[in-house]
C-alpha cells in the first residue's frame, strides 16, 4: 500500500487576469494518508475548491506537484489524467452530480461501466451498496424524482464504487437540510470506516468539520492551520 493517498508540494494556481493575476492557491503542501477523513475549511475565496480541483486533476497547477498514491499527475497528458480520475479518484460535487438521462442505478454504476466491469458484477455491487446506504428501491428513478439527499447519496455511491484512492467532495452538504446532511455524512463516515476509503472535503459546514479526522484551514490560498481530531479538544 502507498504511504500517501495524496501529496502535494508547493502547489500554486495562478489565474491570469487584468490588472493583476489572481493567486488562488499559494504554495500548499498537503499529505493525506490512506483512510483519512480530511476536511479543508475556510471562507469563500480561500482556495478550497481550487485545491480539490488540483488534487483531482480537473485543473493543472501553475507550479508545484500532485501525487496520487505515489504517482505524479500534474504533468500527465489529458488522456492519462482522465484514466487516473476514472480509476483512482471519485468526485462528489455540491449539486447537479448526476447525469439526468440515467437512472439512479445507471448513474451509480457509470464509473464501473467506464472501467469495463461486467454488467452482472456492476449490478451486484450497486445493489449491495444501495442497500447499505438506504437507496434500495430507488434504482430505476431518474434524478428529478430523487430528493437532494438521495441524489447526493447516489453520487457518493458512484464515487466509491470504483474503489478509488480518494474521494473528493466539494461542499457536498451545502444544499441539504440538517437531517439529510447528517445522514449523508453518516454514509460517508461508514464507507470511510468500513472500506478505508479516503475522503477529502472542502466545506464551511461545521457539521462536516466536526467529523474530520484532520481539519485543514485555508486562508487566502495558503494552509493557515492544521488540526488533527482530538487536538482541538
Amino acid at each position: 500500500m502507498n504511504e500517501h493517498a495524496v501529496r502535494t508540494e508547493d502547489l500554486w494556481k495562478i489565474y491570469p487576469q487584468e490588472p493583476r493575476p489572481v493567486e488562488a492557491v499559494r504554495g500548499v503542501d498537503l499529505v493525506v494518508a490512506p483512510g483519512e477523513f480530511v476536511v479543508m475549511a475556510g471562507p469563500s475565496g480561500s482556495g478550497k475548491t481550487t485545491v480539490l480541483n488540483l488534487l483531482g486533476g480537473l485543473t493543472r497547477p501553475s507550479r508545484g506537484k500532485v501525487w496520487i498514491e505515489g504517482r505524479e499527475i500534474s504533468a500527465l497528458p489529458d488522456k492519462a489524467l482522465a484514466q487516473v480520475r476514472l480509476s483512482r479518484i471519485g468526485f462528489v460535487f455540491q449539486s447537479y452530480n448526476l447525469l439526468p438521462v440515467l437512472t439512479a442505478l445507471e448513474n451509480a454504476e457509470f464509473t464501473l461501466l467506464l472501467q469495463g466491469v461486467p454488467v452482472t458484477e456492476r449490478r451486484r455491487r450497486v445493489r449491495r451498496l444501495f442497500r447499505e446506504i438506504g437507496l434500495e428501491g430507488l434504482e430505476d428513478r431518474r434524478p428529478p424524482r430523487l430528493s437532494g439527499g438521495e441524489q447526493q447519496r447516489v453520487a457518493v455511491a458512484r464515487a466509491v464504487l470504483g474503489e478509488p484512492a480518494l474521494v473528493l467532495a466539494d461542499e457536498p452538504t451545502a444544499n441539504l437540510d440538517s437531517a439529510t446532511a447528517d445522514a449523508l455524512l453518516d454514509v460517508m463516515e461508514q464507507l470511510n470506516r468500513d472500506n478505508g476509503t479516503t475522503f477529502v472535503f472542502s466545506t464551511h459546514d461545521p457539521r462536516v468539520m466536526e467529523r474530520a479526522s484532520r481539519l485543514v484551514r485555508l486562508v487566502d490560498g495558503r494552509v493557515a492551520e492544521e488540526t488533527v481530531s482530538g487536538d482541538a479538544g
Binding site: 481550487t50 480537473l58 482522465a82 480520475r85 447537479y96 447525469l99 438521462v101 440515467l102 464509473t111
Partner: protein, 417 residues
Amino acid sequence: MIRFPTLGWLALRNLGRELRRSALTAAAMTVGLALLILSRTLADGAHEDWIDSGVRLASGHVSFNAPGYRDSESLDDRLDAGQLEASLGAAALAPLTEPSITTVRVATRGLASSADGALPALIVGVDPASELAFSRLGAEPATGRYLQEGDRLHAFIGAGMATRLGLRTGSRMVLTAQVASGDIAGQLVRVVGTYRTGLDDLDEALVHIPLSVARSWLGVEGATSVSMVLPHSAFTDPVLAEARATLEGAGIEVAGWPETARELYSAVRIDDAGDWVFHLILFAIVTLAILNAVFMSVLHRKRELGLLRSLGLSGAETGLVVFVEGVLLTIASGLLGVALGFALVWAFFRNGLDLTDIMPADITFGGIVFNPVMYPSIELTHLVQSVALTTVIGLSASLYPAWHAARLDPAESVKVE
C-alpha cells in the same frame, strides 16, 4: 482506448432526453434532404424531358455522319451506301437493354415556295414509319396527317410555313435545292398535313418528304445521317463508345447529343448549375440551423459535460459523445429524408408537377419548348450525391460543438452557477 459503445449509449440517451430539440434538428435535415431529393428528381426529369424533346427534333442522342457534314450540312459530305449499312449495323449493336429508335435521313437546305411567296427551308427526306416514332412530329398533326408508306410526292410541313406561304392540306408547293450533281433542281410536292411545335423557327422551316423522293430528287444513294433515340440520355456515352469502336477506320463520324445539340447541352448544364447553387444555399441555411441547435445543447449541458470529465472521460471522448449525437441524428434524418423524399417523388410520378398556372405558354429554351408539367426521374448518382451532401452537412455541423465540448475546462464546467 475509446469506449465507443458506452459513448454511443450515452449519446442515444441524451438525444432521447431532449426529444423535442432532437426532433426539430432532425426535421431540418429530414425535410432538407426530402426537398433536395424531390427537387433533384424533378430537375433530372425536366432535363431528361428537354433532352428527349430536343434530340428528337434534331440529330437524336447519337448520330452517324460523314466527316465534315455537321459543319457543312452539304450533300457532298454524305454517307455512301456502304457507310449507311455500316452505321445501321453499329446502331443495331448498341449495348441497350431497352429498344432504341433509329432513323435514316437525307437533309438539305433549300427553298420552299408557293404562289404566295418563298421561305428558306430545311428539307428532310425521311422513312415515315421510323421518323414518326423518332421525332413524333406527326403524332398529333395540327392539320391533315403525317407521311405514310407509299406516299410519293407528299410533304409534311410546319404550321408557320403553311401560314406564311398560304398553304393548306392538299395544296401544292415547290421545293428547290442544290442536288448532288451541283445543279439546282425543283420538286413539286403536295401538303398532306402540318405540325406545330411551338418553335417558330422550326415551324416555318422544317419540311419532311419521303426518303425515296428525296433520294431520287437530290441524286443520292446513301444518307446524310443515321440518328438514334435512346431509352435514356444516360446511355449516350456507352453507345457512343461502342459505335466508335465498331466503326473505327470506316470514315464515319459518330457524335453524341452534347456535340450535335450544343445549345441544349449548355441550357441543361446552366440549369443544373443553377439548381446546385440553390441547393447549396438551402443547405447552408440548414447547416447553420443544425449547428445552432447542437451548439446550444452543448452550452446548455456544460455542467454535465464537465461531470463526464470528472468521471474519467477524456476531452476527446467528451467531444465524441456530442459528435456521436450528431452522427445518430444524421443517420436517422438521412433514412427519414430518403423515405419522405421518395414519398414526395412517388406523389408526382403519375401526374407530375403542373406549373401551367404560373408559367406562360410556349416558353422556348435551348431549342426546345418548355414543358410546364415536370415529371420526376430518379438518377442514382444524384440520389447518392444528395444523401452524401446531407451526411456531410449533418456531420460537419456537429464538428464544432464536439470540438468545443472536447475543449471545455472541466473545473470551470462543474462550477455551481
